[in-house]
Amino acid sequence: MAVLLLGEVTNGELNRDATAKAVSALKSLGDVTVLCAGASAQAAGEAAATIDGVAKVLVAEDALYGHRLAEPAAALLVGLADGFDHIAAPATTDAKNIMPRVAALLDAMVISDVSAVVDADTFERPVYAGNAIQTVKSKDAKKVLTIRTASFDAAGDGAAAPVEATAKADDPALSAWVADEVVESDRPELTSAGRVVSGGRGVGSKDDFALIEKLADKLGAAVGASRAAVDSGYAPNDYQVGQTGKVVAPELYVAIGISGAIQHLAGMKDSKVIVAINKDEEAPIFQIADYGLVGDLFATVPELTEKL
């Protein structure tokens, strides 16, 4: 059995955390070959080669792959699919865009957001906003999967695996990149952070979202948000935690002014320790919080930031 894993490469850099979590999910299935594709991808490939459990790295370096457009990336993966039984990627937005396209081109059903690997054909995945866990057994010859990174620990470092260049595939020429709008931040990345502080609608404004950020900075935490906070413009879209946003499982998750809708819980309920601060003692978030503080966030959050 052999696994082809699409490494998560953004602007030439490997997202080691996401890629290494996928490696640890998949390595029981066979030799893992990591594909790093990008306008520049050699350095990412060399980084991927040192993830424990990686047998080989393929590097596809071409401007065509610079922005991870789905059509060329899927064509590349399909071209390399021969000889692999599993084609997988960490379940990032890039992979969620690309992998179902790969699966359909291979006439296979994609298995999204795998949270446990049972055997070569059988996988667990959450459905209904995480209110049920489904075990599915695939009848397809090739399995196409995305891996829910929050469910796996990252593989460690190993001896460097061989790195080889691979040819680019034909350009389907169906789409073109125009622009990125990325907010640079010195804070830890949401899905790999050990601590996350999230704010909800209760924070009330973009200016007051600084209260959340100050507490996060004191804790060295990443900042998250509920959908309501993002929709209201208090926080950017990439902060959204939940069923349809990012899924996190840090050591510590602090939910502030968040009611605890099922769609939000779907993205954070596997956190080790959950703290909730909410002025409504009936808020559903308290039903899953390890430590609940009933109170006004405008008083309690600055006090907490100061006392930590």
Partner: protein, 252 residues
């Protein structure tokens, strides 16, 4: 330009899904069902394109059980012009897989020849996030997923996408598949007169067999279980108590 919008009948987003005692799935009998929220956003976007004079006709398509007629009536009441139902299952508990749905949609699209398909990015029941991408693959079309903004400019659609790092804007050649994210728009409520009018709009019915598509699943559902529960912890009275509890727990 004709715009086609696939819509799915799913458990209402306010209802907490309950796993059936026999572990075969989630109980959907006597549960409130609605249009998948992302599909509502897709329908809204298509109607807005028509209101702007960009789209000429909006066709809603649903694949599933007979009861999905209601979902299509909702789309018609919002403003879609006509609807097509492809009946592909009898039991409300049967979820047609995205690959089969994509094949059926492709068959419908081969007949309808739309210039744009707007779908929801994900169905909130199976949470697969796959149908739009699979459909694009089968048609050989470009795709712009997780859209928060769509502008039609001649032969291309300029789409802003919500991605892990922030936002990405791409251009995709038409015809294309766009999938809607939460912030694309806020869907309207259908007014009572429009609900009445929708009853008279055309709703065609076909079956999967009519379209010659095999919908048998590739993924066998071995079991469905409840996730590990999480118990409520304790309430602390003061910030000081919270700080000391967090220190005890070793997380700060």
């Amino acid at each position: 330009m004709k715009v086609l919008v696939p819509v799915k009948r799913v458990i209402d987003y306010n209802v907490k899904a309950r796993v059936k005692a026999d572990g075969s799935g989630v109980d959907l009998a006597n549960v409130k069902m609605s249009m998948n929220p992302f599909d509502e956003i897709a329908v809204e976007e298509a109607i807005r394109l028509k209101e702007k004079g960009v789209a000429t006709e909006v066709v809603a398509v649903s694949i599933g059980v007979k009861q999905a007629q209601e979902t299509l009536r909702t789309a018609l009441a919002m403003g879609a012009d006509r609807a097509i139902l492809v009946v592909a299952a009898d039991d409300v508990h049967t979820d047609i897989e995205p690959l089969a749905v994509a094949k059926l949609l492709k068959a419908v699209i081969d007949e309808e020849q739309p210039g744009l398909v707007i779908a929801g990015k994900q169905a909130i029941d199976n949470d697969m996030n796959a149908t739009g991408q699979m459909l694009a693959a089968l048609l050989g079309w470009g795709q712009a997923t997780f859209a928060s903004k769509i502008e039609i400019e001649g032969e291309t659609a300029k789409v802003t996408r919500e991605v892990d790092g922030g936002l990405q804007t791409i251009e995709v050649k038409l015809p294309a598949i766009v999938t809607a994210d939460l912030r694309l728009n806020e869907p309207r409520y259908a007014s009572l007169p429009n609900i009445m009018k929708a009853k008279k709009k055309p709703l065609d019915e076909k079956t999967a067999a009519d379209l010659g598509v095999d919908v048998s699943p590739r993924l066998e559902i071995v079991s469905v279980k409840e996730p590990e529960g999480r118990k409520a912890g304790i309430k602390v009275e003061t910030v000081d108590e919270l700080v000391s509890k967090l220190k005890e727990a070793g997380v700060v």
